[in-house]
């Protein structure tokens, strides 16, 4: 039983890591008013590029960096369409998402079915020797720890720095910000690029650390979960992070539930995360004032100076 407990905790931390990266990226992106629905394609591109690079060079750093750059490139296509050419954000996100999925499949084709050495675990010295807790939390790989640092960093920047204020202002009222001389389009493009880069890292984590292989469709809807997570967390950093871990736990429980002797059809468990997200969405969205206080007012709307 204890083994299962350890498995669930460490498994959740690892499984949620790609979600954390991509969700933090999408959160920043949305804070500036941009709704990017193509995260799935960007994660896929990051995963494919990352895997191929690790297979070729043997270096995980190169893999993560390359995955990040490729996904960022894809997100810039989205940025050009929406920020510069004023196209509809929903459609542009979908278009670049589909493009990304196709491109990732093409990149990864030759490497399908092969495998690379997974990212090594980074035991945190004496901490990892603590019984139970040590095994579950302090023996994971570097990217997991970095993701936690990322959450803290994003929280700090958004809420405590001038840059964060700038981003939020642009997300709230882009016309007013523009009239004050603030670089609305530049900031938005940078936020989109950041979102894409983080999605790329999340995807690369999946293919080079979590399950070290590339397969078409391996992102399996996580990109969409990320979009839901920002709403679920009402655009508040700690809540979005919490949502990501919650989601990870539920998806792992699906596999371990047998150990507890519960005999539910596996499909109910697979559907559970989505049902819960929908219910939470309904519960949260009900409070319109609350939503308005936290969601960027101009989210999804085009801005043309």
């Amino acid at each position: 039983m204890l083994e299962v407990f350890v498995f669930i905790i460490s498994g959740t931390l690892a499984a949620s890591t790609p979600l954390i990266y991509a969700a933090m990226g999408e959160l920043v992106c949305e804070k500036s008013g941009m709704l990017n629905l193509g995260i799935e394609g960007m994660m896929a591109t990051g995963a494919a590029a990352g895997f191929v690079l690790v297979a070729i060079t043997g270096s995980h750093s190169v893999g993560f960096f390359g995955g990040m750059i490729c996904a960022m490139g894809l997100s810039l296509i989205y940025a050009i369409l929406t920020v510069l050419l004023n196209a509809n954000q929903v459609a542009s996100g979908l278009a670049t998402g589909i493009l990304g999925l196709g491109v990732s499949s093409a990149i990864g084709k030759k490497y399908e079915g092969t495998t690379v050495t997974p990212l090594a675990d980074l035991p945190l010295g004496p901490l990892s020797d603590i019984p139970v807790l040590g095994e579950s939390i302090f023996q994971l790989d570097a990217m997991v720890y970095l993701s936690i640092l990322l959450v803290v960093a994003v929280w700090y920047v958004i809420n405590r720095t001038k840059l964060g204020l700038l981003i939020r202002a642009i997300g709230e009222a882009p016309e007013y910000a523009h009239s004050q001389g603030l670089p609305v389009r530049m900031v938005r493009m940078c936020c989109v690029a950041f979102g894409g880069a983080m999605a790329g890292i999340g995807g690369a984590y999946l293919s080079t650390a979590y399950t070290p292989l590339w397969a078409e469709g391996m992102i399996a809807g996580r990109g969409w979960i990320v979009v839901a997570l920002t709403v679920f967390g009402t655009w508040v950093v700690p809540r979005v992070a919490f949502g990501a871990y919650l989601f990870g736990v539920i998806s792992l429980l699906e596999l371990s539930i047998q150990a507890f002797g519960v005999n539910l059809p596996s499909q109910i468990l697979s559907a559970l995360p989505y049902v819960i997200t929908i219910l939470m969405l309904a519960a949260i969205s009900r409070n319109v004032t609350f939503i308005r206080m936290n969601s960027p007012a101009s989210l999804g709307q085009s801005f043309s100076p």
Binding site: L85, L99, S270
Partner: protein, 363 residues
């Protein structure tokens, strides 16, 4: 220094949509050429395989028409919603529900030779799609929950429901535990229209949808209000049309259309209910609706084009050994270029001299 600015057009040009789509297609072919060169396929041969080859045989044309039917149907339904600013991303899930409902009728009445069997399945499928979409409509109007996310999440739930049903309650008892239903009888299937192809009568649903949507948009007051409501919600409220009503109507129309498409699949090329009911028609229809400029006539052409790319992509896998990613890349490129060029639909590019800008600022 010369600066480019965008100036909104005063009136909608008729030529612009055609120019934009053609431009997008041209750019896609250019992108495709680069892709082919990377794969070592002679570009002209590759383009021919995708765009021309399907049209060279009766079977190929039948396949394109077959693929076009669900795309046309769902895109028409979704376009109504998109014009009103209601973003139904869950057409795939609504399609699945329609397929499930129609299959349930076919299984329950297996062996029946009644002429009411197929119409019954059609109605069941349509209402199932409507019911699934109404969940999202309810959550949006009562709880203000974003319909983009709810409809998408519901698709995942619909998939799990499908998997559960074909693994258990709706599974063929003589099927050796494999997750699929019985094969439907002759009377539960749409009749084939062209001998030697798989093209069947489900296209009529798409045709009715097109005519219906055209009338709805161009001629009916409700349709007008729906478009106005999307473009300027305040104005619509002044005109006495409730936003809530618009959301319900838009989602139900989209859901119903998707449900009907689901019936078309199980009573058509599939002939049964199985885990793989749709290769992403619900999402492809979104692209088709956008590419058609959310216009009922435009959608006819964009659905034909998308169907051609689907079928051509499959044929290309055989004839020039292209990987199956090709179809997705072409579709993504087409929409991306279209969106990029669609700026030309609503604005003109104007050159402005920088001193003119400065003097404006001073005055």
């Amino acid at each position: 220094m010369v600066k480019f600015t965008l100036e909104p057009r005063k009136e909608q040009s008729l030529l612009a949509p055609i120019v934009v789509t053609s431009l997008a297609l041209l750019l896609t072919m250019l992108g495709g050429t680069i892709l082919f060169m990377i794969y070592g396929v002679p570009p002209l041969k590759g383009l021919r395989a995708i765009f021309i080859e399907p049209l060279l045989s009766t079977y190929g044309i039948g396949e394109v028409l077959l693929k076009m039917a669900p795309l046309l149907l769902v895109a028409q339904g979704l376009a109504i919603g998109f014009r009103a600013g209601v973003w139904n991303i869950g057409a795939e899930g609504q399609l699945i529900l329609g397929a499930i409902a129609a299959s349930a009728v076919a299984i329950y009445f297996d062996g029946s030779t009644s002429i009411f069997l197929l119409p019954g399945m059609i109605l069941a499928g349509m209402f199932a799609g409507i019911a699934w979409a109404s969940i999202a409509a309810f959550l949006r109007t009562t709880f203000n929950a974003n319909e983009i996310l709810v409809t998408f999440m519901l698709t995942s739930v619909a998939l799990q429901l499908l998997y559960y049903l074909v693994t258990g309650p709706m599974r063929d008892p003589m099927g050796f535990n494999f997750p699929q239903s019985i094969t439907f009888g002759y009377h539960a299937m749409f009749p084939i229209l062209i001998e030697g192809t798989r093209f069947n009568a489900s296209i009529f649903m798409g045709i009715f949808a097109t005519v219906g949507c055209w009338l709805f948009v161009k001629r009916s007051l409700v349709g007008y209000k729906l478009s106005v409501g999307g473009l300027a919600p305040r104005a619509a409220i002044y005109a006495g049309f409730s936003q809530k009503g618009a959301v319900w109507l838009a989602l139900l129309i989209g859901g119903g259309a998707a449900g009907l498409a689901g019936v078309g699949e199980v009573s058509g090329p599939l002939g049964m209910l199985q885990r793989n009911v749709s290769p992403g028609y619900g999402y492809a229809a979104i692209i088709v609706a956008m590419l058609g400029g959310l216009n009922p006539i435009g959608i006819i052409f964009s659905s034909a084009l998308m169907a051609l790319i689907y079928v051509g992509g499959d044929f290309a896998r055989l004839s020039v050994q292209l990987p199956n990613a090709v179809t997705g890349i072409f579709q993504g490129m087409l929409l991306t270029f279209y969106l990029g060029c669609s700026l030309l639909l609503t604005s003109r590019i104007r050159l402005k001299r920088s001193d003119a800008v400065a003097s404006e600022g001073e005055a």
